[in-house]
Each structure stands twice: as structure tokens, then as C-alpha cells.
């Protein structure tokens, strides 16, 4: 077309426009993509600002040390106490039960999948674990309350209808896929030469797995456990449905407990007016929850980054 027009002038003009357009588009696209990436940064800033503004209102009326040391949590009662310890103890209790279930089970399955299982077995087991991970937490909550608690009550007759044990165990099943897949990733990046060195010295498969591969992958495994712990602390619906409520510090898994997350649900569902001191408690609780999970996530991320950098070489 341009050649048919003949003259050199229109063609360079055309090329100039075309290139100009392409360059401009490159710039516009880059800025748009940067804006997309910044949404995530603003999300974090938004979370911190929203939680802080309301939590500051709360801490103006309730001193921080009282929040951290009072042993009762009764913001919705006539006689108000604002001690986070009962909620913290409930959260820790259910989370530790979840880890007791998911860590041993998850690590054994991870070692099996990484060191022993034939590819055909992995092909069946991995999707199964993904199905387990894909079940909505509300379903697990129903399962804990309606199925697991009655079964446990046959073993422990004194167990309350709402308790820490049942949601803890179910939460362990829920985070099992997370522990398994992250630990397996950590085991798999252990260099093959280490295993071969072990075999050359006459070690059995189990000895190689447990005393060479496992220790080499330890940092990655610890990262996966920390992440699972963070997930358990933040898990909401299972405990909101099956753990019940408590205003005191309680470490008996057969009794009902309040967790930080379940308390936030409880207040959000009720008719506590927005902006009151009782309502602002959820922001104080949420900022505590956020700090805990934030620290755990960062530690886990750091460990994983470092071990991946070493393991990849």
C-alpha cells in the first residue's frame, strides 16, 4: 500500500505515527499494571488504618495493660471486663489441638509422598488432598458440631456440646493439606546427591528419609508448620459454630471456649450498635489477631525464601 503511494514522505509519517502509538501504549499499559500491583499495597494499608482508627477509640477508654492482663472478657455484660486473655487462651487451645492432629499426620504423609510413593499413588493422593483443602470452612463447622462432637461425647461423657476439642480436631483435618503439600515441597528440593550419599554408606530408605532428607528440609518444614499455625489462629467458622463461648481463661479441651475470631462473628451477628465501646472491642481483638498472623506469616515467608535460595542452588 505505502509502496504504491510512492513518495517517501507519507511512509515515514505513517511509521512515525505507528511507532508513537505503540510507545504510548507501552507506557499506558505499564502504568495501569503498576496501579493493579499497588491495589495490594493499599489493601494492607487499608487494613491497618481501619483497624487502628477504631481500636484507638477503644484503647482511649480501656487502657492497653488492662486489655492485656485482665482475666475476664465480658464486654456484652452489665459488668464489663476487657481482658483479651480468655480469647487468647481459647484461640491457642483450639490451634494447638489442630497442630497436634495435622503436624504428625501431615509430616508422615509428606515423607511418604516425597520418598516412598510411586508416581501413580501420588496422582491419586494429591487430588484427594486438594478436595480436602477445597471444602468450605462452614461445612467443616457443621461437621464438627453435628458429627464429630456426638462421637467424641461417647468417648468423653463429660464433654460439653460446645467444646474446644471437636473444632480443634476438625481444624487439624482442614489444615492437613497445607502442612502436607508445603512440607513435601521442602522435602523434594533436597538434592538427590544427599540421598545417594546415604545409600552409598549402606543406610536404608527409612534412615535416609528420617536422618538425612528430613533434617535437610527442616527449615522448610518449620515454615509450613508456622503457616499452618497462622491459618489455625485465623480460622473462623469452625470455632464460631462448634466451640461455644466462654468469659474466662480455660485450658480444658472438653469445655467451651471463645476464640478471637468467633467473638468477632458473635458481635457482628448480634445487635450491638456500631460505634459503641462494646462494638469497638472487635477492632481491638482484630488488631491483636492481625498482629499474630502477620508475625507468623512474615517469619514463615522469610524461612521459606532463605531455604528455597539455598535448596535451589
Amino acid at each position: 500500500m505505502q509502496n504504491l503511494n510512492g513518495g517517501a514522505h507519507p511512509r515515514t509519517l505513517f511509521e512515525f505515527h505507528r511507532r508513537d502509538y505503540v510507545y504510548a501504549r507501552e507506557r499506558v499499559v505499564q502504568v495501569l499494571l503498576l496501579l493493579c500491583a499497588l491495589v495490594s499495597v493499599f489493601t494492607t494499608i487499608g487494613i491497618i488504618i481501619v483497624l487502628l482508627i477504631q481500636a484507638i477509640d477503644f484503647f482511649r477508654e480501656v487502657p492497653v495493660w488492662k486489655f492485656l492482663t485482665d482475666t475476664q472478657w465480658t464486654p456484652l455484660f452489665a459488668e464489663q471486663h476487657f481482658g483479651i486473655l480468655p480469647l487468647l487462651s481459647g484461640t491457642m487451645l483450639t490451634s494447638f489441638i489442630a497442630l497436634l492432629v495435622s503436624v504428625p499426620l501431615g509430616l508422615i504423609i509428606a515423607i511418604y509422598l516425597s520418598e516412598y510413593a510411586a508416581p501413580s499413588v501420588r496422582k491419586v493422593v494429591k487430588p484427594f488432598l486438594e478436595v480436602l483443602a477445597g471444602i468450605p470452612t462452614i461445612v467443616y463447622g457443621y461437621f464438627a458440631l453435628v458429627t464429630v462432637t456426638p462421637i467424641l461425647q461417647k468417648i468423653f461423657p463429660t464433654m460439653a456440646g460446645f467444646n474446644a476439642l471437636s473444632p480443634g480436631i476438625v481444624m487439624g483435618i482442614m489444615i492437613l493439606p497445607l502442612v502436607t503439600s508445603l512440607s513435601e515441597d521442602a522435602l523434594r528440593v533436597v538434592p538427590k546427591s544427599l540421598r545417594e550419599g546415604g545409600y552409598a554408606l549402606g543406610a536404608s530408605k527409612l534412615q535416609v528419609s528420617l536422618s538425612i532428607v528430613f533434617p535437610s528440609a527442616l527449615s522448610g518444614i518449620i515454615a509450613s508448620i508456622i503457616l499452618a499455625f497462622s491459618r489455625a489462629i485465623g480460622e473462623t467458622m469452625i470455632v464460631a459454630i462448634a466451640a461455644g463461648q466462654s468469659t474466662n481463661i480455660n485450658f480444658n479441651p472438653l469445655n467451651s471456649v471463645s476464640t478471637m475470631t468467633a467473638y468477632i462473628v458473635q458481635v457482628s451477628q448480634g445487635d450491638t450498635p456500631y460505634g459503641t465501646l462494646s462494638y469497638n472491642t472487635i477492632f481491638a481483638v482484630a488488631i491483636t489477631l492481625f498482629l499474630f498472623t502477620f508475625l507468623l506469616n512474615i517469619i514463615s515467608f522469610r524461612i521459606r525464601k532463605r531455604f528455597l535460595a539455598v535448596g535451589g542452588d
Binding site: S40, I109, L176
Partner: protein
């Protein structure tokens, strides 16, 4: 009579078999739990599944209650969430993978996204409450709910999309540049089409998560008793998981049956999406 070496070898062999059987028993235990869950839900809920249950509004009478409000609410919410979260999430992932520099800002954004993926969903709910419901005065609307949910699933989309783009061999990029393509042309015509199946897998998993999430929408105040369908972006709404939660929280056995029936519908939707994602990945990641 075995010599000490043979005894040692035999011991190791037994230990090996023992470990293997413990691991398989662990897997079987998890499988049994899953089966127990499914069987129990089916036993309690299947009798309530019928056309009326799907097309009725909630009711004080458990045998007349239905899930239509939650089902339609979930559907609209997921569509709105996808419209917002998918383009922004993919855009962010492209920027971080192809444009972002490896300086402190890049590291900060990366650690930020890793953390966001681990922030409890209920904290997103409080963000939505403060930011969308109150500050932007969207009220307890379906738009506020969908915006909250988009922020929640965005890290999931970003992380999976980044992995998908990273998996494209560098030779493709270099070949494209070599024939004079610009960066964006390379991304649009080569990187995105090649990584599309993996990106799609991540998106489906994220959407499946959005359908099952309950807690953040409870905090932003999605209603639990809704006898109408949302007809605009500012409508109040409910979603299926909240409807289920409402029924589970009641003491009456009959409402637990409604909850189980609702769970059957929810599980069919989420597990179907998950299996599509798994099949997609197995087909394309060879």
C-alpha cells in the same frame, strides 16, 4: 542362623514396612474423615433436597424453608467479585513478574502479598466494613460484599498467575523481542496465551474459595433472613454459606437438616469447580 548384618538388614526392612503402613493408615484416616463427612451430610440433607427447597425463601418453618435468596445472592456476588478481582489480580501479577524491579520496593510488594494471602478472612471483613460499608457509604450492599471478597481472593489470583507466567520459558520472550515485538506485545500475544490454562486453574480455585467464604460477609453485615432477590448493586443480600450458618446456629434438629441440604448444594458447586481446576492442570501441566 543369621549373621548380625542380616539381622540388621531384616530389622531395617521391617521398620521400612512399618513406616509405610503408618503413612498409608494416616492417609486412610483422612479419607475416612472425608467419607464420614460426606455420608453424614447426605444422610441429614438428602431428604430435604427438592425443587421447593431450591426455589423457596427462608422460613420460620424448617420444612418450608429454602435457599433461593442465598443461591442467587452467591451467584451475583461471585460474578461481581470475578469482574473486579480477575483483571486487577492478573494485571498485578504481570507487573510484578515482567516489569517489577528486584529492589526493596519489589521485595516489599512481594512480602506484602505473601502476608495478605495469610491474613484471616475475617480481618478482610472488618476492612470491608470500615472502608466500603461505612467510609464509601455503600451500606450492607451486594457491591460492598463483592468488593470485600475481591480483595480477599486477589492475593490467591496474583500468586497463581505469577507462577503461571514464570513457568513460560525465557526463549519465548527472547524470540518475541528478536522479531521486534515490544514488551506488552510479547506479554499479550505470547506469555498470556501460553500460560492461560495455569492462570485459569488459579482463577477457578480462587472463585471456588469466594463461593465458600462466610466470615467476611458476616462482619460486613450480609443479612441472614432475606425474602427478596437482589435487583441492583445497592441491594441488601445474603449468600448460601451465611444461610447455612444461620440454620446450623439454631438448636432445632429440623434446621440442621436444612443446613445439611444447603451444604450438599454448596459442596456440589465448590467440588465441581475444584475438580475442573485439577483436571485442567493435569491436562496442561505435562
Amino acid at each position: 542362623m543369621m549373621n548380625p548384618f542380616e539381622i540388621h538388614a531384616a530389622k531395617q526392612r521391617i521398620k521400612n514396612i512399618l513406616f509405610k503402613s503408618i503413612a498409608i493408615m494416616g492417609l486412610l484416616f483422612a479419607l475416612c474423615v472425608l467419607i464420614l463427612l460426606l455420608v453424614n451430610v447426605a444422610q441429614n440433607g438428602l431428604s430435604r433436597i427438592n425443587i421447593e427447597f431450591i426455589t423457596s425463601y427462608p422460613s420460620r418453618h424448617p420444612d418450608q424453608a429454602g435457599i433461593v435468596a442465598g443461591l442467587v445472592g452467591s451467584f451475583y456476588m461471585v460474578i461481581l467479585t470475578a469482574i473486579m478481582a480477575i483483571p486487577i489480580g492478573i494485571g498485578a501479577a504481570i507487573y510484578l513478574e515482567e516489569y517489577g524491579r528486584k529492589n526493596w520496593i519489589g521485595r516489599l510488594i512481594e512480602i506484602n502479598i505473601a502476608n495478605l494471602a495469610g491474613v484471616p478472612s475475617i480481618v478482610y471483613g472488618l476492612l470491608g466494613l470500615g472502608l466500603f460499608v461505612r467510609w464509601m457509604a455503600l451500606d450492607r450492599s451486594i457491591l460492598a460484599g463483592a468488593m470485600t471478597m475481591s480483595l480477599l481472593i486477589m492475593p490467591v489470583i496474583i500468586i497463581s498467575t505469577r507462577e503461571a507466567i514464570r513457568a513460560v520459558p525465557n526463549g519465548i520472550r527472547e524470540a518475541s523481542y528478536a522479531v521486534g515485538a515490544t514488551k506488552w506485545q510479547t506479554i499479550w500475544h505470547h506469555l498470556l496465551p501460553i500460560s492461560f490454562p495455569s492462570i485459569l486453574t488459579g482463577i477457578i480455585l480462587a472463585i471456588s474459595r469466594a463461593i465458600g467464604e462466610t466470615a467476611p460477609l458476616i462482619t460486613i453485615g450480609a443479612l441472614t433472613y432475606v425474602t427478596f432477590l437482589p435487583n441492583n448493586l445497592k441491594s441488601s443480600f445474603t449468600i448460601l454459606p451465611i444461610q447455612i450458618f444461620n440454620w446450623v446456629a439454631r438448636p432445632q434438629q429440623a434446621f440442621h437438616q436444612d443446613a445439611a441440604a444447603g451444604i450438599i448444594v454448596l459442596l456440589i458447586v465448590t467440588l465441581l469447580l475444584n475438580s475442573v481446576a485439577i483436571i485442567l492442570r493435569n491436562r496442561f501441566l505435562r
